[in-house]
Symmetry: C2
Subunit: 283 residues, 2 copies
């Protein structure tokens, strides 16, 4: 990307914030600052040369930042924007990275002044580990990046963020309204996490499971090594969508369970063939 001539502040140097810093640094922004309550994280990031300067207090960098990327849990993101609403530079683009969007986008847009632009974002990237130590610029490589713009967002600002994340390695950007985002993500992200947790918690075997586990079990339970705090917040903030998707899933389990119980081979096979074809299309 040519000419990232902006001051950028990343708020929160966890897995995503740290990865963002690594990927953005390579794009040579005018200044790349970070805000974190944890001085160790700031020092580590400085030593890794992935930020130009770190701040425990947000006011100083915010006042000069053209772009602010808030990589905190959703509720903390809202608190941060509220607390610092007077500290942002006029014209600043503010984005977040949280896994739910409707509530936060609506809430922030209800009080944000005219001259600031909050554009919800959600990178389809992550890991089952947390913290700066597991950060990597590669988590964006090949991932898609969702933006949830609303009417008041400036088209040029959305496009700037889209160009930036593509330069960071994202394979695609996609726009969807915040409410629809939460419904889709209940299925593509929240549901697989719930299934992984339920599957691991169903282990009553009393044997050394890993000796009897091939790729299918390992892959489908990878994300069960979950960040309990973050995911409790995400799931309870997307309750209705998740319950709805869980019920659809339970219906599909029932179809297969009954077909197995009744030895209905043609139904099992047709369900498998349907899944095979659909899954093949998902890269």
């Amino acid at each position: 990307m040519e000419g990232l001539d902006f001051n950028i502040t990343i708020v929160g140097l966890g897995l995503i914030g740290g990865s963002y810093a690594m990927a953005l640094k390579e794009l040579k922004p005018k200044n790349l600052w970070a805000v974190d309550v944890d001085e160790n994280a700031l020092n580590t990031a400085l030593n890794m040369k992935i930020i130009d300067k770190g701040y425990k207090e947000a006011e100083i960098p915010l006042k000069k930042s053209d772009i602010v990327i808030i990589a905190l849990y959703p509720k903390l993101t809202l608190d941060f924007v509220k607390k610092h609403i007077k500290d942002f530079k006029s014209g600043a683009i503010i984005t977040d990275v949280g896994g739910i969007k409707e509530e936060i986008v609506n809430n922030i847009n209800s009080f944000i002044p005219e001259d600031l632009d909050f554009i919800g974002g959600h990178p389809m990237a992550g890991r089952e580990k947390q913290g700066l130590n597991y950060a990597s610029k590669d988590i964006f490589k090949g991932a898609s990046y969702i933006f949830t713009p609303v009417e008041r967002n400036k088209e040029e600002n959305i496009q700037l963020l889209e160009r930036i994340v593509k330069s960071m390695g994202c394979k695609a950007t996609v726009r969807i309204d915040p409410k629809h985002h939460d419904e889709v993500i209940a299925f593509t992200s929240h549901l697989p996490h719930i299934l992984a947790v339920a599957l691991v918690n169903s282990d009553l075997l009393g044997v050394e499971t890993s000796l009897f586990a091939a790729g299918s079990f390992k892959d489908s339970t990878r994300v069960a090594q979950i960040n309990a705090d973050l995911w409790t917040e995400l799931l309870t903030s997307n309750r209705d969508n998740i319950i709805n998707k869980l019920e659809i899933f339970e219906e599909n389990i029932k179809i297969l369970k009954n077909a197995i119980a009744e030895n209905n081979c043609s139904l099992i096979k047709s369900e498998f063939e349907k899944a095979h074809l659909r899954r093949k299309e998902i890269v």
Copy 2:
């Protein structure tokens, strides 16, 4: 492995049989033969130099083979052993690679003559693709390999198979009785496949799912690109165990669903923390 001074025949050059040929060839057995009804597969394997000779008719190689590895679907394995029971060399070790064991081990042992040793085997290795084209000696690397010996099997023969699969790259071998195998595998293998299929078939989003899918969805649905024929046979042959494991899983889904519906954050969190700790132990 030193001195694999045996004639070995692989029956069936699919994904597993082909991978077996690749891995065994490196151990330099006296002769490595293959049997397949598909002449193309035999010719391909010959051209790849992963077998010494291919046969469409099994009699000739079986009569001289010290070790026979049957890499067919379970029911075909049983048919093959029955059909060729008089063709095996006296003293031969016969093993299979199927995903269910109780029925086949009991059945074969009910009619096999004294001088033959059928030892059930199940490599915890596979892919969501099928056929020789996707075979690779690397599928055994780091995998564990389950054997389901019974009383009549000779200890030295079991140990020979264990040494061979370790030399092929398996990280561990494990012994378990055939009935217990099927119960454990219902959980570690059959259940994840059913969940993957049910999850993919629950996709009623009407959007391009892959744009909204991160690793969690992709990983947990990878095996939904399933071999419908094989898996219909596996699941219906392990009905009671699978229904039992599915019901335990459904209970765990219900716990999480109710906790989310009731906004019971402490219960969600404790279920997540339990899963996190357990999953961490599974390498």
